[in-house]
Amino acid sequence: MVKMANKKTRGPDKTQANTSDIVVKKLDDATDIVRQPPVFTNDSKYICIASGRQIGIYSVESADKVHSLEEHTFDVIGLAIKDDNILLSCDASGETIEWNINNGTTLKKAPLVVAGIKEFHSFHYPGNGKVLVATPSTYTTNMSSLWIVDSHTRPRKLFADIKSTPHSIAFGCNQGNGSLVVVALQDHSVVVKDITNGVDKKHMTDQRKFTCVALHSEKLIMATGDISGRILIWHDFVHKSRPVKTVYHWHTLPVNSVCFSSEGEYLYSGGSEKVMVKWRLGMSRKQFLPRMGSSIKYIVNAPDNICVATSHSDNAIRFIDSTNKINRAIIGLVKHDPIRGFADTEPIKESVMPTGLVFDPRSHGIFFNAQAGFLQLFDPQKNSLIFNMDVANRNVLTDERNLVIGNAEVLRVAVSPTGEWLATLEVWSNMSAGYHDMNLKFWRYDAVQANYELNTDVTMPHQDRVTALCFQPGLLGTEMPCLVSIGRDLKFKIWRLVDDTDIYRQKESWSCDVAGDFRKLTPSALSFSEDGSLMAIAFQDTVTLWDPTSINLNTTLSHTLVQEPIELMEFGRDNCFRYLVCASKSALYAWDVISQGLVWKVGQLHSSVRCLVPDPKSCYMAAVLQNSEVFVFSPSSSKPVHSVPKMNSSEPIAALFVPRPNPLASGPEWLINSRLLIVDDQQEFLCVDDVSSAGFNQKLTTPISHMDSLPWTPFSAMKAEKQISAAKQLVPVVHQTSGIQGYKSVQSLLETSASALPPMSRICSLFMSDLMIKHGPKAVTAKVNSVDRTSTDLPLSNGHIDSKTQDFSEETTLQKLLTLDCQWLVETVK
């Protein structure tokens, strides 16, 4: 029954027909918001953030998005506030757009013309129509030249061979007379240009490389940070060739960003220590804001000094108020920092995104790694982050200067078929110490609190690395859920939920039910049949089939044709339930578990299979190769239904079929109910989808109220913030949302067994008082008054309404009586 069919000889006509309307899209909304420093508007009410080709305008007060500006066709490289309500942005192709911040409309589009250069690195706007742009250096790579562009003169080159990062260029120091000083960093020196007075200077220090620079807005003061964590404050650096320097050294790691407060009293600095330091200039006093979650990339100060925004490497922008506390944050999808210290033999997936993509059937989101020790849930429909969950619950440790200190990393995630249970495996290892920790944690979703609660924490579930975790699918509600884990300690373990309830508390916890091995071979892949009745574990080239309830070995499958170790293995879904698809280094083949024979095999693949993902909504399966080719096939035959040619140079590391909320009207069968999501090693999301399927587009069109954007004036203070009219307003009827009155006492009465009940005469009064609606005397009278008022306000035009008012008043008197009654009773009960 072995059919041999090579992928190269696939039917070209069929696939050709499909490729025309299947496209590979990049999910754009998931890009990072911290690539460029954010910009505050002049009134400090809004903050503008560049993310890829978009610009988001967020309210500082609420950290909510107000506008999304999408006109650029290239990545935005710089933002600036031109006038009070005008935002200036520039993209990598040099196109500048002026936007109205209040309503998000485009005012003006103009290309930058700088000596025919088509690529730009960074963009700054000092004011007065002058623009500073950095362009790639002509001779050295990774360096830039800085140009000044004016509307009426030709572009002038200021510096050559400067660093291209956004913080290596600074401007300021108007010294009260409107002069402009521009400074830029080279590796070991700072170049200074006073544009108005035409002074050039170059300052050098010792061998420590500079990382960032900032200028005081008024005085001739410059701050530079370097890789040793030292901050230098330079005084009068324009005129003197050996300026006076003050050393501020607290950071141990390179300083990533320095920033003056708008009055110039304070200096903020931050780096990979995840600590923001607030220095008071001229004094030795400093304040710290530690444990900010992740290393600081940029610090931006609001013009009115009320808050400071910090961009962090975990794709978040945090707002720090004047009391040095984080009070709000704008959080984007987190990119996982690749884990350091993995052996080269490990696939790249293990360090970049070890969990892969795990579908959560409850929220229809995808679980994958966030920052070290965290797990995030991403909603692919809305392209938004649902939440970021702290799995390790440890302090995030920062590196020391010559020492890499690892953090706990989440390596494996599994979600139970109902989404009630989440299993995470976190590992902390120190290769130099030869010590490692491993924790298997079981979390239960609490629907009331809408978060996951830790149920069981197992230390060292396996002695060595855990290869896979999988919940048993297809269980009805009556059975206890079951999780299987396989590890490199040659063992597979079956974990079951155990009811541990006694009279004091209700408790369920997970414990290891069975630990087994097979001929001392390393288990490498694990899969359950769709109904959960069969468990397949691959031990090198042998597939073993087990009965998950009794843990009996049913069969072993092996063949002389397939002798490479199996790397990936998946059961087919739907009507292909009997096929078990296995992928080894160079071959892809399928077993029939009923007839126990090899069905087909495709050998000599171009490159090895990275991911093998079944579609939960159809019988199809996708194989993603290392060279980013994608084949979609049905496990019953080796012929692919669809194939996507090499997409780009990046290597795919994980893939997942995401079910659609509503099926497509037309399209290939495998795309009707779900689409394929692929993540590459840069953690960019790619989506294989039909052209006809519309993306989720939500335009935010709330206009900013006119009042908000106006500056404060004495007249505005006179105008009342709230207007209260003398006219009586209708008071809406308030429903009792706190639950059914006395629900608890009824519940407890029903739950207590008859034997334990005290005599009825004793509990009766308590029970009745629970059932009564308790009102404070004040609240009731107020309510009564309001009802009275409404009744008098109602126009007495026809009899119908008249009768209604009568009802009202009657009701109020009843209510009065009732409450009086209650009061008396409650008192006696007490």
Binding site: L289, P290, R291, M292, G293, K325, I326, N393, R394, N395, L397, E400, L403, I405, W428, N430, A433, Y435, D437, T459, D502, I503, Y504, A717, A720, E721, T752, S753, A754, S755, A756, L757, P758, P759, M760
Partner: protein
């Protein structure tokens, strides 16, 4: 995000008896005060109102004890032979007792005078009770009859003679004055209604001679004991058996409710009293006594537990009062006291930035109870400041390292993670080194901490291998080595035994498999499993047999 996360201290659950709320509650009983009587203690009854006097019937007298002073408050000796089952009326004024000659005698506790004698039984009366209306008396006699008497007129109203053996147990309903239960040595428990004089309304078979019966306050369920079994019956369902519990290994003699009807206590000849949860009938605690327990009395506030024993001992146990607890453990009680004090803090809520606002005390002052600021332990404080040596020092104090080694190990673990173990261990003087070494030697055998301790020991050896040590520390290092060697020996032995066991198990499983295949061929039909409904029905029955 910005808060420091506490160091995780891993403590593995201890094997052994679990400490539950109930064990803590019942353990608070003080050392018993014992009184020796001449004969076995037949019955103990507790006055249902304060001062909770205790009526003890033994030999030929009935004594009323004061539960606080343990002194005899009154005693009634006007019995020719043995007196049985003295019980106090709910208002605490009268006491009634049966006796060998078949009379039921009524006494006034205040004046000690004999008020009534109910004559009519032909055999000894072992139990007698006042009904709820306080004007009738029920007596249970060895002449196999149960009689209801009118108190004022001293006359018999009804007599039921349905039992075929001695009636040695009985109780009355707490709601209706017409309902009462009797339990007899003929294995039956019968429920009577005085309004239907034709006979018992419910009769159930207990399976062994009934020693005591009890009706729950709700009057829907009654319990009978006898033999080694306790049976629970549903009265509303006409005497359906709800549960059978067998926790004693000798005859159960007495029954009592405790903790406001939430717990059931049984005493038996096996010298134990077991306390059950009335919903699940699981034993939550066991009290031990020096000799077979014949009778039990518990005051309604659970303050005093009285047990009467076969050798004539009465044991009276008091619950520990707060003052006593304070005297025993002054530190702990101080903590409790501190906790109970509530502090308030006033906070001004006014937003002073807005100009046109007047201060409104009703909305702008917020009264908040002082929340417990989360306690940061000293080692966390030092870890937070990256002072690793000091953090390690704080957890090496004798108290922590001896009583709570999990904390020491937890901090060591955190230091390993932070790569600060080497700097924390280095440069130590003799005394602090010796405390580390003794800690390591003591805990290196503990499998739950071993991997961390081994790591610490290795680092310690690495640091101090080249430095010259004082003889004292050297000795300690050698001691540690000895501990490790011994452990290695143990593990070797254990592995040898494991190997032997594997051989044995392998041989038995092959044999079993050979035989089991045969069996499977023989019976291909699956055994029938109970249906869901049947399973639900069966859940109420505990510990059958």
């Amino acid at each position: 995000m910005a808060s420091f996360k506490k160091t995780q201290i891993r403590s593995l659950p201890k094997i052994g008896q679990k400490v539950t709320a109930d064990t803590l509650y019942w353990r608070k009983l003080n050392f018993p005060v014992t009184v020796k009587e001449f004969g076995p203690i037949d019955y103990i009854d507790v006055m249902p109102i304060e001062p909770y006097f205790i009526a003890v019937s033994s030999a030929a007298k009935v004594q009323i004890y004061n539960p606080i002073t343990h002194q005899v408050h009154r005693h009634f000796t006007r019995f020719k032979e043995a007196a049985y089952g003295a019980s106090i009326r709910s208002d605490g004024k009268l006491v009634i007792a049966g006796c060998d000659e078949g009379h039921v005698k009524l006494f006034d506790i205040g004046s000690k005078s004999l008020l009534r004698i109910f004559k009519g039984h032909k055999g000894p009366v072992h139990r007698c009770k006042f009904t709820t209306d306080n004007v009738h008396v029920v007596s249970f006699s060895d002449d196999k009859s149960v009689a209801l008497w009118d108190l004022p007129s001293e006359t018999e109203i009804i007599k039921f003679s349905e039992h075929s053996d001695y009636v040695r147990a009985g109780c009355v309903s707490s709601i209706s004055s017409d309902l009462f239960l009797s339990g007899s040595f003929d294995h039956t428990v019968k429920l009577y209604d005085a309004r239907s004089p034709t006979g018992s309304t419910i009769s159930v078979d207990h399976g062994s001679p009934v020693e005591s019966v009890l009706m729950y306050p709700s009057n829907s369920i009654f319990v009978s004991v006898g033999g080694t079994e306790l049976r629970v019956w549903d009265m509303l369902a006409g005497g359906r058996l709800l549960a059978r519990v067998s926790q004693h290994h000798k005859t159960i003699t007495c029954l009592h409710l405790a903790s406001d009807g939430k717990r059931l206590v049984t005493g038996g000849l096996d010298r134990h009293a077991k306390i059950y949860d009335v919903q699940s009938y699981q034993v939550v605690h066991t009290l031990d006594f020096p000799s077979p327990v014949l009778s039990l009395g518990i005051t309604p506030d659970d303050f005093t537990v009285v047990a009467g024993m076969a050798n004539g001992l009465i044991s009276m146990q008091h619950r520990q009062t707060q003052a006593e607890a304070r005297a025993l453990n002054p530190k702990q009680s101080l903590k409790v006291q501190k906790k109970s004090q509530t502090a308030y803090r006033f906070r001004l809520n006014a937003d002073f930035r807005s100009v046109n606002r007047t201060f409104n005390p009703a909305t702008d002052v917020e009264v908040a109870t002082k929340t417990d600021t989360n306690f940061v332990s000293r080692y966390d404080m030092f870890l937070r400041k990256f002072q690793y040596s000091k953090a390690l020092d704080t957890v090496l104090t004798p108290y922590i390292r001896k009583k709570k080694p999990a904390i020491t190990v937890g901090v060591m673990h955190e230091l390993i993670r932070r790569n600060g173990l080497k700097s924390a261990l280095a440069g130590r003087d003799d005394s602090s080194l010796s405390s580390i070494l003794t800690f390591l030697a003591r805990n290196i055998n503990d499998p739950s901490h071993a991997n961390i301790i081994i790591q610490v020991a290795n680092t310690l050896l690495e640091i101090y291998e080249s430095s010259s040590l004082t003889p004292q520390s050297e000795k300690l290092f050698l001691q540690l080595q000895e501990h490790v060697n011994r452990e290695v020996e143990y593990v070797k032995h254990l592995m040898e035994i494991e190997g032997m066991l594997h051989i044995l198990l392998a041989s038995t499983t092959t044999q079993a498999r050979r035989s089991s295949t045969y069996v499977v061929q023989g019976s291909s039909v699956k055994p029938m499993l109970p249906s869901a409904a049947a399973a639900a029905n069966a859940t109420m029955i505990f510990n059958v047999g």
